[in-house]
Amino acid sequence: MHGRIRTWGPGALVLLPTVLLLGYFVYGLIAWSFNTSLTDRHTARKGPADYVGFENYVNLFGEERFLNSLKNLGVLTVAFIVGTLIFGVLWALLLEKGVPGESIFRSVFLFPMAISMIASGVVWAWLLNPSQGEDARGLNRLFETLHLGFLENPWWTAGNRWTTMASIALPAVWQLSGYIMALFLAGFRGIPGELREAARVDGASEFKLYRHVLFPQLSPIALSALIILGHMSLKLFDLIYAITGPNQFRTEVPAVYMWNTLLRSDQAKAAAIAIVMLAVVAVLVIPYVAYTVRQEAEE
């Protein structure tokens, strides 16, 4: 008995603070939020609140503003993930082929990630100025000067959801592509040289080499990238807040709406939005966690 404690005791002791802190600050507070979301606590007044079941959720899903924010979020996530993967993989491929001054390019591409989104958001708010033609400013000015007038557009003030949210995704793509590049580059470098040589000896073309030998090896990396990008996009707040400000219907996502709702002290509704966001992220993350656990068990 004594011997057994000695084997698992120290490990448990080391884990204990983490378990306690996570248990309280993450899972405890999730439970707290969920509990609040079931009440009618719509002001900052203290004291007991009544339980109203899932009324707050029913109201949310009957509200144009919330449904609009969910649709915006969907479009944003697709645009962000597709954009970032395209640029990230492209850059990784180019660098992997070997260019002079590779480390410089690597730093240049990675650098935007070091900037906080609130700071880059302020700059992008200027770049994405919707004025066109003679009055053009920001990116539109650049296009105007380069005689590429057809590329000018109203960015996020455009009427349609795809243009609007793709414009919001643009700065995020710019910031995160370098990170995805680094992930894939590390993946490429981790593949033993013998595999390539063997494929070349067997007469595989360069395209076939990548398509059938290298990319299949990178699927775990692609999956991680997808999860990382996906959950970042679902939580995105600072960039949108910095570019468009609060209360902007056209670019509002649940995170911004939650902040607005909390600012007017509607705690129950804000908690309900938070729980919906958590559910959306969980849909993405839980299968991934299950997959990794199974993989590790097999090894």
Binding site: P10, T43, G245, N260, S265
Partner: protein, 424 residues
Amino acid sequence: MRAGLTKTFAVLGAAGLLAVSACGNSDDGGSGDTATKDVTVFTWWADGGEKAGLDGLVSVFKTDCKDYNFVNSAVAGGAGSNAKQVLANDLQAGKPPSTFQAHAGAELKDYINAGQVDDVSGLYKDFGLDKAFPQNLIDQLTVDGKIYSIPANVHRANVVWASPAVLQKAKIDATKAPANVDAWIADLQKLQAAGVKAPLAISKGFAQEMLVEAVLLGELGTDTFNGLWDGKTDWAGANVTAALNKYKTLLSFTNADRETIDWPDALGYVNKGQAGYTLMGDWVAAQQLADKVPDSAYTYWPSPGTAGTFQFLADSFTLPTNGQNPEGTKCWLKTVGSAEGQKAFNTKKGSIPARSDANPADYPKYQQVAMADWKSNKIAGSCAHGSSCSAGQNNDILSALSQFSGAQDVAKLQTALGAALKTS
């Protein structure tokens, strides 16, 4: 192994002790003897004319309330956008400042409903403010028979700022306001015909809300307009539809980047001759003085159709429930309402005093005109600046207007505005 375990315990124990002692320290700091003398004043006046105004107020406080210490607790950020979040946290945690800044009127509803501010009507009598402030201002500040704050100043919202040089291009007399919104639209058309692409400069968010309010005020008249906010006027009425359609027409004369700029940029378009007009509150006067724009380069008049009406907003101070040092706070509130306090504050901030007994000669040119109007005009409230609706209602209206700025659907806007006023 045993030694390792003991060490682990020792480290954990030390960490626990540290945590406990850290808590103890912060408790000691909060309950010292000197704390009772401190008056913590929470504002979003962190720089510029606003900071200068606050400093003026503080110097009066230091002579009038020698027993107390002023503690500045300002949080920077336009129109209190950051400050309100910080304040909400402090109030929620049951640690209110001694007093905090808030727009006077209905915006206080959230705090009143949450039981976070006390009724100060008694202080109005004690300090003689019920006589010093105009009766119609007191009516606007009263919520269910009680008053919850003391205003330090008054600003006017319904002002159009025009560039005579630009208006000259279409031979329009800049000194005279168009008689109504239709006449204004006609002038805007003339300007566009004369080659001014976006004759009406406007910026994002609350500036668009101010324009809607100015059009509604001009079209419906003061009493009907005030009725929109207290439920006496129906938002679904045909007169509201007509006014919103005129707002839509006005938007078609505005700059394409209206969703991305702030009011100083819109004012810049007027000053640089790219636009003929912009509608903004009279803090523009202080900005023009600060930017050294000569008097001849701009004119101003009440927005079309609203001559004789003063759409007001006021910054005010509250008495939070269970705040520290309520006696010191009352002394601060006395300073805020006093003639010297209001003079020291307003001559620097560029607003006018809420008291009607101030001497106009102490103030710059624009304020003298505004003070005369403040005495003689009818008074209207403003949702954009909190005198007529709660923060939540304002939030919904801003969202509806940003949707309208893109989709331009008048019927939808009208429904959304009516619905916004039905929430709390």
